[in-house]
Subunit: 363 residues, 2 copies
C-alpha cells in the first residue's frame, strides 16, 4: 500500500486524490469511475464507489470544466411572471432527473440582458443551453450554437441548422382561437398582442397573429384587427379602454398569451363590461390561472410539459453528439371555459376543468 508520509493535511477538503488514496487506486482510475469510462474492473469500481460514498466526495465542477464536462445545463428564461414557463421547466426536470445533469436558470429581467446571461453560461463551461422564448441576433446566435449544444423553445426557425427548436404549432393555434370565437357567435374580434422592440418575424406571437388573420380572412372578415400593447397592466388597460370605448368596439378579444389575457380580463371588467356577454376573451397556453373561477379563461393548450420534455431530450442528444438539427412542433387545442361561453357556466362541473373542443377547421 502506497502510504505517503501523511503530511499535516491542513484542509479537510475531499478531492479525487483523497478518494484515490482511500481506495488504494490511482487518481485517473477514480476519474474513470466517475465518468463511467471504459477501463476499470468491477472490483476496482465498487471499491472506489464505496470510498466515494464513505468520504462523501463530490467532484468540483470548476476543475471538471477545465478539461471535460460540467454536467450543467443552462436555462434562459425571459421572466418569472409568465405562468406558462413553470410547466415547461417541469418537463425539462422530469427528463433530466434520471441524468447527472443539473439545471441552472438565468432569468432575463430587462431585455438586452440575454447576451450577458448567455455569456455567463458560456464562461461557466455549461454543457448545453435551453433558451425559452428568447433569441439572440442571428450572428450571436450562430456563435452560441456553434460553441455549445443549443435548443430553443418558443421560437420558430425550421431552417436553422445549428440548433434545435421545440414549438407549439402557433400558426394553427392562432387559427383555433379565431375559429373558436366565431363558433361561439362572436362577430367582431380583435387580437391583442405584445409590443416588442426586438420583433423577430418567426416568434410565436407573430405566428399566432398570422394564424388568427388567416382564419378570420377565410371566414370572410376582410381586415382582421390586431393591436399591440406593452405587457403592463396599465398599458393594457389603456389599450382596452381605447378599443371598447372607440369606434366599432370589438365583441371578443384574443390575448396572445394567458398572462396577458388575464390583464385584458382585468381591464374589461374594470371598464364595467361583462365577460362573456359583452366581450368574450380567449388566451393562449392554458396555464394554471385559467381554471380559477374568477378568471375562467378559455385558452389554447400547448402542453408545456411535453415541450419541456422534448427540449431536454433533444439537448441530451446533442450533447451526445448529434449534429443535424431537429425541429419539433406540437399540436395545440382549444380548452373552452366561461370567458367565451356567452352563458357563463359558473355552476357547471366543466367550469374548473374546462371543456375540450375539437379542431374546428384545418388550414
Amino acid at each position: 500500500m502506497k502510504t505517503t508520509q501523511s503530511a499535516p493535511k491542513k484542509d479537510v477538503r475531499v478531492t479525487i486524490k483523497t478518494v484515490a488514496e482511500h481506495a488504494g487506486v490511482s487518481v485517473p482510475t477514480v476519474s474513470k469511475v466517475l465518468r463511467n469510462a471504459y477501463g476499470v474492473s468491477a472490483k476496482a469500481r465498487s471499491r472506489v464507489l464505496a470510498s466515494i460514498d464513505q468520504l462523501q466526495y463530490r467532484p468540483s465542477a470548476s476543475a471538471r470544466g477545465m478539461r471535460g464536462q460540467t454536467y450543467t445545463i443552462g436555462i434562459v428564461m425571459p421572466d418569472v411572471r409568465n405562468p406558462f414557463f413553470p410547466t415547461i421547466l417541469e418537463g425539462v426536470e422530469a427528463v433530466l432527473a434520471e441524468t447527472p445533469y443539473v439545471t441552472l436558470t438565468g432569468i432575463v429581467g430587462k431585455p438586452g440582458k440575454v447576451v450577458s446571461i448567455v455569456n455567463a453560461m458560456l464562461d461557466r463551461q455549461m454543457d448545453g443551453i435551453i433558451m425559452i422564448g428568447q433569441r439572440l441576433p442571428p450572428e450571436e446566435m450562430k456563435l452560441v450554437a456553434s460553441a455549445l449544444p443549443t435548443v430553443i423553445v418558443a421560437h420558430h426557425e425550421p431552417d436553422a441548422l445549428t440548433f434545435d427548436t421545440v414549438n407549439n404549432d402557433d400558426l394553427r393555434g392562432g387559427q383555433l382561437a379565431a375559429d373558436h370565437l366565431l363558433q361561439q357567435g362572436y362577430k367582431n374580434p380583435v387580437m391583442v398582442t405584445i409590443t416588442r422592440q426586438d420583433i423577430v418575424r418567426m416568434d410565436v406571437d407573430q405566428l399566432r397573429v398570422e394564424g388568427y388573420r388567416r382564419a378570420l380572412a377565410a371566414a370572410g372578415i376582410s381586415v382582421p384587427r390586431v393591436v399591440a400593447s406593452a405587457d403592463m397592466l396599465d398599458d393594457v388597460t389603456a389599450t382596452i379602454r381605447h378599443l371598447l370605448e372607440g369606434e366599432d368596439p370589438p365583441d371578443a378579444l384574443f390575448g396572445w398569451a394567458d398572462y396577458y389575457a388575464l390583464e385584458i380580463l382585468s381591464a374589461v371588467r374594470a371598464l364595467g363590461y361583462r365577460v362573456p356577454e359583452d366581450v368574450g376573451i380567449i388566451g393562449y397556453d392554458n396555464s394554471d390561472p385559467c381554471s380559477y373561477t374568477q378568471n375562467d379563461l378559455t385558452s389554447i393548450d400547448q402542453s408545456g410539459q411535453e415541450i419541456g420534455r422534448r427540449a431536454a431530450q433533444l439537448l441530451l442528444e446533442r450533447i451526445g453528439g448529434r449534429t443535424e438539427a431537429v425541429h419539433v412542433v406540437t399540436e395545440p387545442k382549444v380548452v373552452g371555459r366561461g370567458s367565451t361561453g356567452r352563458i357563463p357556466p359558473l355552476d357547471e362541473a366543466a367550469a374548473s376543468n374546462g371543456a375540450e373542443f375539437g379542431s374546428p377547421q384545418a388550414i
Copy 2:
C-alpha cells in the same frame, strides 16, 4: 517586444495568455487587472484593458473557481409559481447590476431537491447563496453557511450566527390581517395556511398564524381558527367547501400568501358565494395579480424589492469579509381592495392601486 515563434495556434480560444501576449505583459499582470488588484501601473492597466476589449476576452469561470472566485451567486427558489418571488429577484438584480457578479437560479421543483441544488452550487464554487423561503435541516445548514456566504430570505432565525436573514415582520403582518378583517366588520374569520411536511417553527407561515391568533385573541375571539391545505386548487377548493358548508361558516378568510388566497378566491366564487359581501378575503404579499379587477384582493404588502435589495447587500458584505450575522426585518402594511370592502369599489380609482390603511394596532 517578446514575440514567441507564433506556433500554429490550433485553437482560436482567447485566454488570459493571449491577452498577455497581445498587450506585451505577463499573465499575472493581466490577472491583476481583471481583479482590480494592487500592483499595476495605470499605463499597463489601460493597455491590458484595450487588449481585452479588442480580443473580446472573457475569463473562464471554471479556471477562476480553482483558485479564486467565480463571481457567481446562487439563488435557491422553491418554485416559480409564487408571484411574489419575481419582485424579490428584481431587488437582488438591482443591487448586483453594478457588480461583476452574476446570479444563477436553482429552482426547487419537488421539495427535497433543495439539498441537491445547494450541493450543485457548492460544487460549482459559487461565491455566495441566497435562499428564498427554504431552509435545510440545521446540520446541513450549518455546513453550507460555513462553506460559503449565505443569506436566507423568508425564514426567521434571529439567533443564527453563521448566516444572515431578511424578513418581513410576519408576526406583525398576521396581526395586521386579522385587525383589518375585524375593522371591516367581519366577525368570524378563518386563516387558511399551507400543509407542509417540513414544518419549521420559525418559518413565515407559522409566524403569520401566530400573529393572526394573537390579534384575534386580543380582540376577544377566544379560539381563533386556522386550517391547513395543500397548495393545489383542488385541495384548497375542498377545504373551502368544507368550511363554508360546515358548521359555523366563516365570514372572512385569510390566505397565508397571495397565490394561495387567489385559489381561495376561486373556490369561494365557485361555490357561489359573493366576495366581499358573503365572504371577505385577504392575502399576503401584495403581488401583481392582487390589483387585477377579477381578483381585487386586499393584501399585506411586504415590499419584495426592498427585501431583495437588502439580501443582495448583505451577501456582498459577507463576501467582502463580514462574519457577524445580521438579521433584517421590514415593516408590513395593509393594502385594502375590494375583496374585504363589503361594497366592492370597482368603479373607484382606488380599485387598481389599492388603498393603504394605517397600522391598526401595535402588539
